[in-house]
């Protein structure tokens, strides 16, 4: 069989690691030896051990919250740049929006720690203004902090696809909406939003899929109650030296993400019916 170079490249890059993880998940680890007899033991443990379920549910919740927050945040920004910025200034605006994201991801996470911390910028600012007596504690080392940090990190990735979808909308369609008797708001609802849906769906997928697998942010700002499934996978691989268990958890997590993502795409096709 003849395989072209790009196909080979794709296989090496994607299929091989995935295959390896899949294979590993059916093996078991006995201290230092890897037992390669195929078994479902890891999956049984994943099912029976409540901690894994809890982490997975929390991961989905946090990712969902991050996705909603990011898209809700990104839409008005994309809308503003697309509809209210003069055409020749648009690229400048997009450029400015991405500037904060030139610094390393880790530095940004640490910055949020500085902002949200017990003696952080936010707390000292608020108490300086006399708005609070005691530092707020619900903003760091828990799920809220993870949501805030991740939403900020993924904002530009959500803004861009929504912006592109909005840019593609023929402006005379909006005038037609007004002309046919609808207010600005109803025209937005009946014309702009449905036509922006492909961008919103892209943004949802772009944010949701990678956040499920994030383990840096939860580790740094999440505290014990903000840890996610990826932290457990990392622990299995690196600390507990149980790669097969980690692999099984990774497969389960991927399965959930795939099902949810496909469900979303299907929903979009079925109900929002954006044909362009």
């Amino acid at each position: 069989m003849l395989i072209s170079a790009p196909a080979l490249y794709a296989i090496l890059l994607l299929a091989v690691p995935l295959g390896a993880i899949f294979l590993f998940s059916f093996w078991t680890q006995d201290y230092l030896t890897l037992i390669t007899t195929p078994t479902l033991a890891n999956y049984q443990e994943a099912w029976n051990e409540p901690l894994y379920g809890l982490l997975l549910r929390r991961s989905l919740m946090i990712s969902g919250a991050v996705t909603v927050a990011t898209v809700l945040l990104a839409f008005p920004i994309a809308y503003f740049v697309s509809f209210h910025v003069r055409p020749e200034r648009k690229s400048l605006w997009l450029f400015l929006i991405t500037i904060p994201f030139w610094t390393s991801y880790l530095i940004r996470v640490f910055l949020w720690k500085v902002i949200l911390g017990y003696n952080g910028v936010l707390n000292s600012g608020l108490s300086g203004l006399g708005l609070i007596d005691e530092p707020l504690t619900f903003i760091l080392y828990n799920a809220n902090a993870v949501v805030i940090t991740l939403a900020h990190a993924f904002a530009p990735f959500a803004i861009l696809p929504i912006f592109v979808a909005l840019e593609r909308i023929d402006r005379s369609l909006l005038e037609a909406g007004r002309d046919l008797g609808e207010t600005k708001l109803m025209t937005f609802w009946r014309v702009t939003l449905p036509l922006a849906m492909p961008g919103v769906v892209a943004a949802v997928l772009i944010v949701f899929i990678p956040t499920i697998g994030d383990y840096v942010t939860p580790r740094l700002v999440g505290g014990p109650n903000g840890l996610m499934i990826a932290n457990m996978i990392q622990t299995q691989f690196l600390k507990l030296n149980n790669a097969p268990m980690g692999a099984a958890l990774a497969v389960v997590a991927m399965l959930f993400v795939s099902v949810i993502a496909l469900g979303f795409v299907w929903l979009n096709r079925k109900f929002l019916r954006v044909k362009q």
């Binding site: 023929d170 005379s172 369609l173 005038e175 037609a176 909406g177 007004r178 002309d179 046919l180 008797g181 609808e182 207010t183 009946r190 014309v191 449905p194 036509l195 019916r273 954006v274 044909k275 362009q276």
Partner: protein, 362 residues
């Protein structure tokens, strides 16, 4: 019939420093097929969009069926528009597009379907309701846009160059259909076009615009035969302009036209106003004819030479030089049986009827 359905008085529009509409005075009657005609950039679209409510006039008043439209948004005006790009909603099918504006009409689903079907039938698209918007040809998109506007029974339908995106054959067919549709529904149509033939064919009245100003408002025949300015005469069809001197002789104007000689013009041949001294006299190519041997002529004649000949099949156009005049004039002849086509350089005698002459000041 009561007053005009649309009345503009002293309307001005500025885009920054640019004066896009200047002193627009215009009354349009109910049920009229009215055209705005002018070269690119003269402000036709701006005027139409001002009526629709997409642009605010900088000054002046716009009345729509007796109501002042100042500050009234497009969705509250009794007008609907057919956009140049048609603006068909890509996320909706044909029926949903047509039904878009019916949301607030308080109709049952069945009533709505009936209205949509009726509107689609009117534009010749029966059974197309389920079609996706992207699966339509240019002509069909245009019909959907028409149906979508007409289903709302507006007082005025605004059309911005609706035929310019169609090929010649389709355009000619739609010109006829639009005219028929307008007579059938009796709604006032305002058509923007830069195609003078289209305006002449379709309209009850035409406003010719140049650089933000209305130069003349008249019925097609008046506009063609009695243009008020040389600019209008030049824009509509072909006009030969000849220098002349004029002086009053009682009611009429006596002119001495270079190359053609003396002619007496009645007051109605001076639509832009009677002028004397150095003037121009215009005549359309089809109002001049070649005189062949043996033909009897009642009109005035002159001797010329054929400078250039253009054979169109049904017609032949000639540029002929008058004796002692440098600039040739253009005339056209129908190619009927037995009539020869003259070659370049041939001597030719021409005849014209002085009643076809139009006088322009300076």
């Amino acid at each position: 019939m009561s007053g005009p359905i649309i009345s503009l008085s002293g309307v001005q529009k500025y885009y920054g420093d640019y004066h896009a509409l200047r002193d627009i005075e215009l009354d349009i009657a109910e049920g009229e097929f009215f055209s705005l005609l002018g070269p690119s950039g003269c402000g036709k679209t701006t005027l139409l969009r001002t009526i629709a409510g997409f642009e605010d006039a900088s000054d002046g008043a716009l009345m729509l069926s007796g109501r002042d439209m100042k500050g009234v948004p497009p969705n509250k005006r009794p007008t609907n528009m057919v956009f140049q790009s048609y603006a068909i909603f890509p996320h909706l099918n044909v029926a949903e597009n047509v039904a878009f504006g019916l949301r607030k009409h308080g109709l049952s689903a069945a009533q709505k379907d009936a209205k949509v079907a009726e509107a689609l039938a009117m534009v010749g698209l029966e059974g197309y309701g389920g079609r996706a918007a992207h699966a339509l040809s240019g002509g069909q998109r245009q019909r959907v846009a028409l149906a979508r506007a007409l289903v709302l029974q507006p007082k005025v339908l605004l059309l911005d160059e609706p035929l310019s995106a169609l090929d010649k054959k389709m355009r000619e067919q739609m010109q006829g259909e639009l005219r028929r549709l307008q007579r059938q529904v009796g709604i006032t149509f305002i058509l923007v076009t830069h195609d003078q033939e289209e305006a002449l064919i379709m309209s009850d009245r035409i406003a010719v615009m140049f650089e933000g100003r209305i130069a003349q408002v008249a019925a097609p025949q008046t506009l063609y035969r009695r243009p008020e300015t040389s600019q209008v005469a030049d824009f509509i069809g072909v006009m030969n302009f000849m220098p002349a001197t004029a002086q009053m002789a009682g009611e009429s104007v006596e002119t001495e036209i270079a190359g053609l000689g003396k002619a007496s013009l009645a007051p109605d041949q001076c639509p832009g106003g009677v002028a004397t001294g150095a003037v121009h006299v215009g005549i359309r190519p089809e109002m001049i004819s070649l005189v062949f041997e043996g033909e009897e002529v009642k009109a005035a004649t002159a001797k010329t030479t054929v400078v250039e000949q253009y054979y169109y099949g049904d017609m032949t156009y000639y540029d002929v030089a008058l004796e002692g005049v440098e600039k040739p004039i253009t005339l056209s002849m129908k190619n009927i049986v037995g009539r020869p086509v003259l070659e370049r350089g041939a001597p030719a005698r021409i005849a014209w009827d002085p009643r076809a002459l139009v006088l322009f000041s300076a």
